[in-house]
Amino acid sequence: MSARQTGPPRWMDRIVELYCKRELLEDLQGDLHEYYDRNLRKSRSRANLIFFIDVVKFFRLYTVRKPKMIERMTFFNLFKNYYKTSVRSIARNKLFSTINMIGLAISMSVGILMITYISELLTYDNFHTKSDRIYRVLSTYKGITDSDAEKYASTSVFIGKKLKEEYTGFEKVLIMRRNFRKDIAKGENVISVRGHYATEEFFDVFSFKLVAGDPSTALRDPNSVVLTKKTAEKLFQDKNPVGEVVTAGDERFMVTGLMEDVPVNSHMQFEILASFSTAENTYAKEENSSFLTWRSIWSNYVYLLLPEEHNTETLEASLNEVALEENAKTDRYAINFELENLSEVMPGKDLNNKIGAGVSWQMINMLITLTMIVIVSACFNYTNLSIARSLRRSKEVGVRKIVGASRGQVFLQFITEAIIISFFALIIAFGISLLIKPEFVRILSDGAKVLMDFQYIHILYFLAFSVAIGVIAGFVPSLILSKLKAISALKDASKLKLLKRVNLRRVLIVFQFTLSIAFIIGATISYRQYKYALNFDLGFNTENILNVNLSGNDSDILLSEMRKLPEVTDYSRSAMIMSTGDTWSDLFKYKDPLDSASAHVNYVDKNYLRVHDFDFLAGGMFPYDLKGDQEAKYIIVDKLFVERFNLGSAQDAIGEVVTLRQRRGDSKLEIAGVIDEFQYAKIESRKKPTVFFQGSDDSYGYLNLVVKTDNIFSFMEKLEDAWKKVDTVHPFRAEFYDDRIRESYAGYVIMFKIFGFLAFLAISIASMGLLGMAVFTTETRIKEISVRKVMGATEKHLVYILSRGFVFMLIIAAFIAMPLTYLFFTSVVMADSANRIAIGAFELLSGVVLIFGLGILTIGWQTWKAAKTNPAEMLRNE
């Protein structure tokens, strides 16, 4: 009978094994077993019991192992050693360390900027003390023909009032309306301000600080305004403005409060607040006013302050109840509501009609993804080079293991090394991030204002970030090295399984190059599309035309001043500037009363079409400009409009009368001319029927001056002087048509910049990785090269042998990248664009050629150097 079968229960043995010191265990356990056998002669259960009691009794100070924690303490001492070996290894392999560090630094600089940016975004609206109980009512609107409901940050005054009057479950209802824009004056001082309307609950709900005035009544009465400090200073200097009266044209406003400036990290920005009752007085009294209607959800905002202990469900139920009741009254559209906590506003959902600029999570996620891709790519460099070079360090691992290092300790050692490299990289990255910050801020600033100030807390984030990078980069090589068996590592390093990781390395390199090629192709396409947009034939002339924003001034008065300048050779007037993104539309009918169609419109004077050189197919310009209250009689339409209503040939259309449908009532208009089709909207959109109305002074927004001058700057100064004779309040705003078009396609430029920058990062990281691998390969194969050379291989042949592996990988990368990028651009980025460049061989091959050039240069340099070495030198020192 073997001892195992008759021995004590295994679990009792386990207990002893668990606590007993290794050096005492064998003897002690032996003793216990001997006793057990002795006791077994009497009875098994008795033996078991005694054995168990003994097991417990032997749990003594001298038998018990030191707990793991204490063993770990030595680990901290080991850190000193890890640090030393790491620094030595870094210093010994200067080239590889530099490649690793710079690669990581480049990508981490972007990471640093992202951390700064996101941590800034996350501070939005956190100065409101009640932010956890402030909710915003969002609306969804689904028209009868829409397939999806659109989401809006705005909602109706109706729902705000309804909640306030008929429902409970909240403490306050704040109703706001955007766009309080006035030129307000105090005596001689006139300034242009932008702000919102708000009900008296404003200061109860939000924590904006009121310096002077009564917070509960400041926004109660009609025509009361609250100024921010900045605004008040401009109008009143240091005087207390409360109680003063300011004017805006015929209107008079009482200043009832003075508040601190709005913090940058507030989702709503304003310079002035007007009482909501002002808006009610203005809009609700208009004829046919939609101010209080159910469907007027486009400009108003409702904020709710809930009690401390709140439950949004009952409130949502109330909102649904109202929606259900009101939606039943019409089948043309449906409006529904959602609640959103203040903390979710910024960064938040992708909503229409936001009260201020907003950044959506979608955008942040996209930025994070791109950053992560670049960072991971840089981490691959580290992983790759470390795996490749781990062969050299296997001896070190072997010795460590024999001396007694555990697997975890070896793992930690190499992770530590990666983290140290990543710390060095962090320092460099911080420097780089300072360099690229201004451009980064510029690209991001088209949404919310971005400060990107450094804060001390960021140091903590950065350190955590670089530790994370170190762990990610060092994980795989550390794992591989720590798995090494001590004996095999020391006995014959060349037979290690390490070499089997070659495939992993190849995959990583291919990934990096795919990325680089894709980014270059992306940059090329964006740039070509931008150029294409600028050179696109719009169908009319925009050259040398300077558009002056009228800012509400009388066009005749301004013209009389400006035409005095000899450089102004011709002029026209229009309501808006076409082809730059704005579109105005109206509904038209011809003979069939049921057939109406929408067309783009613009209000122009009789010079406009001549000045802009439109092609007339039939008829001519407006015979005269409207004077005073004169009714418009003529319109000029384009070819598409004629085709839409089947008016026959262009010539047939002249003299036909069409009906313009407006809320005020229909009006009949006669076609005076037909022009060829042209690009009214931006080039992403298809051409649509277009109509030009006779404009009047009420409708004009711009002067279009034809300018002939050699000295733009002095001309602009003269023009500004002319402006100032007429208007001293508004700034002079004028822009050449072509510049305006260029600006409207800035999206492509930003895209180009982002892709270009990413491409730059990806390329530098990838080529550095490639350089590292090339150096390593030639270094390890130098003997082979020497032998081949001695045997008579030519240098050319050697370069071929050494570089074919890399070239093969580049080719694979190219074949992955080209179709992917092509698909991405044609079906995602520019899928909806009506006019876009054909993505052809040039765009796709640009990246491939560039990367091939760089890659071959990198590899070629190293392999050529290796091939040129004197074989005798290499073979001698064995």
């Binding site: 001892a3 195992r4 021995g7 005492l24 064998e26 003897d27 002690l28 356990q29 032996g30 003793d31 216990l32 077993h33 001997e34 006793y35 056998d37 003994d54 009794k57 032997f58 003594r60 001298y62």
Partner: protein, 111 residues
């Protein structure tokens, strides 16, 4: 002074080890003590004493060859070290001196 002199039980164990010669391992020691002195000793106590005396340098130990009876586990055999022998002799000397000082009259009737 504590440490320089042997404790009573220490002395017993030490003497037992010396008497057992090459067969002195824990279980045997326990058995021998109970056989010779009639004292019921527990393995745990002996174990602790052995450990303590080894730390003091009174005994040395080495592992023997594995045997079948303990599931293949080796025994730890103890030997009295030079220091242990001196301590034993010293202890005996002290007692002898004391014994010699006692007049026979004291034990009259007991023996």
């Amino acid at each position: 002074m504590k440490g320089t002199n042997l404790g009573e039980f220490e002395e017993v164990v030490l003497l037992t080890i010396a008497s057992l010669m090459d067969e002195a391992y824990s279980v045997n020691i326990v058995d021998e003590i109970s056989k010779v002195t009639g004292r019921k000793t527990k393995l745990g106590v002996v174990h602790a004493v052995l450990k303590r005396m080894e730390d003091k340098g009174l005994i040395t130990s080495e592992l023997g060859e594995p045997t079948k009876e303990r599931g293949g586990r080796r025994k730890r055999f103890f030997q009295v070290s030079h220091g242990g022998k001196i301590a034993l002799l010293k202890s005996k000397e002290q007692r002898d001196k004391l014994w010699n000082l006692i007049p026979d009259v004291v034990f009259q009737g007991v023996r």
